[in-house]
Symmetry: C2
Amino acid sequence: MSERRPTVVIVGGGFGGLAAAKALRRSPVRVMLVDRTNHHLFQPLLYQVATSTLSPAQIGSPLRSILGRYGNITILMGEVTGIDLERRCVVGNNADRQQVPLPFDYLILATGARHSYFGHDEFAAHAPGLKSLADAAAIRNKILGAFEQAEAEDDPSKHQDLLTFVIVGGGPTGVELAGAIAVLVGKTLRSEFRRINPASARILLIDRGPRVLASFSERLSAAAKARLERLGVEVRLGSSVEHVDEMGAVVNGERITTRTVIWAAGVAASPAGKWLQAPTDHSGRVRVANDLSVPGQPNVFVVGDTASLDEDGHPLPGVAQVAMQQGRYVAKLILRRLAGQPAPPPFRYFDKGSLAVVGKGFAVLQSRKVRLSGFVAWLAWAAVHLEFLGQSNLRVSVFVQWVWTYLTGTRGSRVIIESSAPPTCPVPTPAEAASPKSGP
Amino acid sequence: MSERRPTVVIVGGGFGGLAAAKALRRSPVRVMLVDRTNHHLFQPLLYQVATSTLSPAQIGSPLRSILGRYGNITILMGEVTGIDLERRCVVGNNADRQQVPLPFDYLILATGARHSYFGHDEFAAHAPGLKSLADAAAIRNKILGAFEQAEAEDDPSKHQDLLTFVIVGGGPTGVELAGAIAVLVGKTLRSEFRRINPASARILLIDRGPRVLASFSERLSAAAKARLERLGVEVRLGSSVEHVDEMGAVVNGERITTRTVIWAAGVAASPAGKWLQAPTDHSGRVRVANDLSVPGQPNVFVVGDTASLDEDGHPLPGVAQVAMQQGRYVAKLILRRLAGQPAPPPFRYFDKGSLAVVGKGFAVLQSRKVRLSGFVAWLAWAAVHLEFLGQSNLRVSVFVQWVWTYLTGTRGSRVIIESSAPPTCPVPTPAEAASPKSGP
């Protein structure tokens, strides 16, 4: 054990990769954790950054401040481009664009998933998704910027386009975004503009299926939909987005003119399946064995959103709990194997339940036995998310912000920060003092 | 008074513009406040965002949340491109790049200043300055990214270049940045890396003059320099930066290889002087009359960093206090003139004193009678900055963060957020397990 510790390379510092790394701390392996960013992202609250309640740093914890004190863990910020299974190397680019290999004895791929444009990747330019802090900052700039542009726009006929927000996808992310935008316009921004009425904003939530929050019970889906509609959100079910461009979207043949389309639909797994040349499901997730290893590669594991595993005939959902439990499972399996102990029983997901927020002070909660909607579910949501947020200083600051926002409507992070050159925004003629020389 | 209220256009929501707008709230004028961003920036703490102690939102307050509740104030986010004095219009571009005029009866220009590259604007690409939240985020990414790149770099000979930080300018911004970087590497990052020792970072502070903090007394300058040196900062006085490129800087003929040069020197005023075609000083500041009006334009005023005014034979310094007092003065003057009252006496600056922080728990304080350096000055600095920060929720969150950082060394905002595509960073071979097939 003392001579040469085996190396476990973990790619991805999300819920799955971080859980594996934590379970391997202070153990007789060297851990190399590779991530494109320097932080673990608490994705369940990303919509609150996109709607300016929380700051990016409140849900992004530097991987080094979580794991840096454990001497057997090395953290590398970098981009993985492939895997060489023969030589047992992860391959990445260095700063000079040269390929450099990172050898492993065990490999855990926890590279996650993004949303899917269902074959229409050209929508991406006009309908950003929400997966990273950069995404959230871009969407926040877009939403807040729309109100600024409308206020500075002389021509009232352009106001409604600017104040129309289309959210594609009725899963938890879409529902939470739509509800948060509704509260933003109805409470926070209400009395701060002179030429526009923020509360006149139109918020549309589009989904192909027959109900929102399809993974919840029908009763909870209906409760969420009713709550969204009470907040002023137009919920359009059974509706397909056929086209998106800079002028708006086409939904079931109808053109909706808007400057803001946000994409929260579909799942496209990371390219881990391509790296491994392993069988994948229709979303690109690697079909793993019931010990989460890649068939034929007993030392290579895939966990979380980029793994595909059925349990009792149903695929496991792409949620944080699955990824965390899988990360811990693989860490335990590796340590047992190294200690010469028998393998653990096949992976089983323990479903602790699901939660989704709708607007302010309202959530839906579904666990094995409980179905709950309303304020109590929202308290449960808040408690669970604070519990899982991890670092105690973040817990305190998020809790304080939530109480503050709940009581006053004030958001914590309403700055528009454009990188590099500031945008050229309109400085209009006030309508009530139009310049005499304007006109054709 | 009831028929048509005169319009006061204020360009710039910094200390001067915001003070003027606040002083005109609930008064018998219409106020149009135009800013390129949506927030008032508390610039004195910008270096703490650049060194990852504070989040951008902790020092950026939306102008609408400060002023939005006053019905006579309209806030417009936009870019001003010129002034038409004949037609009494501020000219800006709208979203379609058409010029649109904004008529005024009174105009207050509070458009600030940037740093100056002393005629070498080509340095800008490699030596960013620190004036906006976007600047601070870029510098934070650069500093934190340098440590990430070094940790991921196989070749130890490249480590020292990455871990060398050159700060140009020994004024308060340069001194505060250098001290904060020294504390960052010596405390926060100390034990989180495996291949590099963050404490081995080299921090250079360069200034052309004979001492740092030249606006303070000689004794305080010497105390600040001694403190910087104790923190490990190399202070190079009487040194000129002759060249900056992607490989580093040339200082007094010596090439210093580094990836990080930060520019905190010089003053270049906004183009307000050009817009007005008014006489300016060598930094481009508009020479104003002693009531802050532009000579020959009794209804046009310039305040803050973009105004040039001598008092007792010395030019007023470019600090927040001057801008705020000038903004309030002009607001008062306009209201008196509208009310038919006599003009106020010429503007006089009341100097409440100056403060600068050096590292952790140490500041220098200079006011009319007091000269102080050390911990007590630092407490005074903290109290004054919390007092002036404005909104009470920000005060609380900044105070809590400072206490937390002081006690634990933990920073509040250490996320690297790259806009759009993630950077390609190195994934190296671990030095201790080099691939057998590497080499020429």
